[in-house]
Amino acid sequence: MNFLRLTVFVAALVPAICPAQMLNPKKLLDQPTDTWPTYNGDYSGRRFSTLNQITAANIPSLSLRWMYRIANVGPQRGVGSPSIKSTPLMVNGILYFTIPDHVWAVDARTGEELWRYDWVDKGGHLVGNRGVGMYGNWLYFLGPDGWFISLNAKDGKERWRKKVADEKLQYFTTMAPMVVGNHIIVGVGGDAMDVPGYLEARNPETGDLQWRWNSEPRVGEPGAETWPNKGAMEHGGGMTWLPGTYDPELNLLYWGTGNPNPVFAGQGRKGTNLWTCSIVALNPDTGKLVWYFQASPHDTHDWDNVETPVLFDAEVAGKPRKLLAQAARNGFFFVLDRTNGKSILTAPFVGTNWAKGIDAKGQPIPDPAKEPKVDGSLIDIPGGGGTNWMPPSLDPTTGLFYVNATRGYSLGYLTDTDERPEGYGGSGRGLWSEHILEAIDTKTGKARWIHAYPSSGGGGLGGPGILSTAGKVVFTGDYAGNLIGFDSANGKMLWHFQMGQSLGNGPMTYELDGTQYLVAGAGDTLFAFASTH
């Protein structure tokens, strides 16, 4: 198939005579069960599957079908053993997943490796990689050092590479590129050196820039009044390091932005610091801002607001509404009208003593007394936040938003008291904390049920994502190596499997040959489960 014909097919959303690996673009507009075409499984970010083969009644027979263990990678620079944080894509019976610097294609039936792609980085953080994006026959991957790379899904051969961020300025790139129409959306991370955040759309065939949205306004633009000066604005952070969500009907792209810089030292950037720590709605064809909601005005706690903005429809006061929900790292659960960003609900899901109230727009009001201090301030949220990047899930049948949260306390210290601080400018120290799985009622913002993990020791680092299913089972993991199936309505534990390493990605599911598979990544290993019947 030649290049021109392929382009025409993709543009026309017609699968036609596809090569075996090709992703039918229609799948991106659906909630498919035979394909997991994007990081969150669909554009809504719900991570809810309509598959219902695995239920409370038959879950005891859910058993391991295969394992794939990463070999010949060794410790990764500065982070140690390989850790799968990516959610695999599943297209035409093949799974595509990543760790920093590496991409694999494995058979979704057997775990057999088809190919592997290795990137040799020249810097950047290897803290994680969230996976690949797919458009037709092509995969998109980010090297940690700001390289945007396209591969042929058939054999993993590189098509081209484009530089999207400068690792010398302490940018690093970890996200799974997101495909919207003929745009590949790419975000960046990095807050060590006070650089500005941005989000880009790139051409799927050439990798060339289509548009760039800046996380900060420029001098004279709306929002500039929320910064004291040009210098602060130009170094203001607001990274875009997790995939967003998309509403095809409204043609709006929803994205969370990271913390402002310097991270803990706010004295050189007085003001609310738009559009950091916000949820923004952008036009995916132009990159123009349509609305914003700022979750943490003038953040000084490193509470990136990149957590998935999950899209769902529900009735509010008897009227059907298009909504967006987010459990934010700052401890608040937000429900917004996704057509205009207006607040429907703001409610804490863990401690929130950093805020002294909620303003008329539903945005928390930060308490200056709880900013990091030279002698320390005591915060009732752990240092990593009330939650973090781990994907949550929303089950439209229960109306519950499931989030892996952490409650506890931490100390915030200001270490750079200069009127123009730089870098982080401060640090945090952990105290007591406890991991919980919380099922938040999207109508009230209150927890319907909470499961507190009693873990002590074993299992190591986790970053457990969540999958909910029409079989009324929610899958996630603890921090002690267990993959667990919970009753979605009441949090009762139905099933577990000890993986030896803790769940580090979002579990995903698909149907193949009439069988529902569940796939989870823990440390260096991918596990696939299915029921015997």
Partner: protein, 276 residues
């Protein structure tokens, strides 16, 4: 569930200095390898940086600021040119030739070694900003020791378990104040234990009524394991009728976390720091 209530200790998160924005829980790289984690280039030459500071101050500081973070002239710590430079191969020519279009004069007289030294001074300034493994908590002993002592004996009820002349004797010399503050707030967080979770005593009562006690090794929702007094290992599935009680010596510390004002905290730190 009673056993779960008993198990309140959980994981103490020492996220501190080493964690980056994307790291969810403790296991940040230590101070030593923050450079490696951040993917920084070669470490600056500290001796050359010291020489360079003496050249930078009188020649450059009046425009770029004594700390190089900008004044009339641009901030050099966050300068892309400086960040791309390693050994003054980029910085050197700019100093020598100046930037006439931007009002920067040429400093043609510097020798190559001097340019190298100035470059290393700038790289040290970058290092101190970017490498958060090097950040130092400043003076945190700002509280009123007398008020702290009163809190210790009064509202905090600390004397129920602790004594300034007993188990906390000389605590002010054993710990840096910043570690002391963290450690008294929650002892397993840092300081009092060198590493890892505190060893807890656990008692498992089986459905038969038989009870086994020992040092907790591991606990999750499904299994518990321990070493008994003889050093023998025991492991149990947590089925219905099995009760697990973990001795919880830190309940008082956790309870206080809900009540401290920042002033209480600083006062107690100031008091404990006097226990030399």
């Amino acid at each position: 569930m009673s056993w779960r209530r008993a198990v309140c200790l959980s994981i103490s998160v020492v996220f501190a200095i080493s964690l980056c924005a994307q790291t969810p829980v403790a296991r940040g790289p230590g101070r030593a390898n923050t450079r490696e984690f951040l993917g920084l280039g070669p470490a600056p030459d500290a001796v050359a940086a010291e020489r360079g500071e003496k050249l930078y101050g009188p020649n450059c500081g009046f425009c770029h600021g004594a700390k190089a973070n900008g004044a009339e002239g641009p901030d050099l710590v966050r300068s892309p040119l400086v960040l791309h430079d390693e050994k003054s191969e980029l910085i050197g020519p700019v100093i020598r030739q100046g930037r006439a279009d931007k009002g920067m004069p040429a400093f043609a007289g510097f020798t190559d070694p001097q340019l190298y030294d100035i470059g290393q001074f700038l790289h040290m300034r970058v290092e101190l900003a970017v490498n958060r493994g090097l950040y130092k908590v400043q003076n945190i002993v700002t509280g009123n020791a007398k008020a702290g002592e009163q809190y210790f004996a009064g509202a905090g009820r600390c004397t129920e378990c602790h004594s300034a002349t007993g188990n906390l004797a000389h605590v002010g010399t054993k710990f840096q104040p910043s570690d002391l503050q963290q450690a008294f707030l929650y002892p397993t967080a840092r300081g009092f234990q060198s590493s890892g979770p505190k060893v807890s005593k656990v008692t498992v009562t089986l459905s038969s009524g038989q009870a086994v006690s020992g040092a907790l090794k591991r606990l999750d929702d499904f299994n518990v394991s321990l070493y008994d007094a003889a050093g023998d290992y025991h492991s149990y599935a947590i089925a219905s009728g099995v009760k697990v009680d973990v001795e919880d010596k830190l309940a008082g510390h956790r309870e206080l976390l809900k009540h401290y004002t920042d002033a209480d905290m600083h006062n107690v730190t100031a008091y404990l720091a006097t226990l030399k």
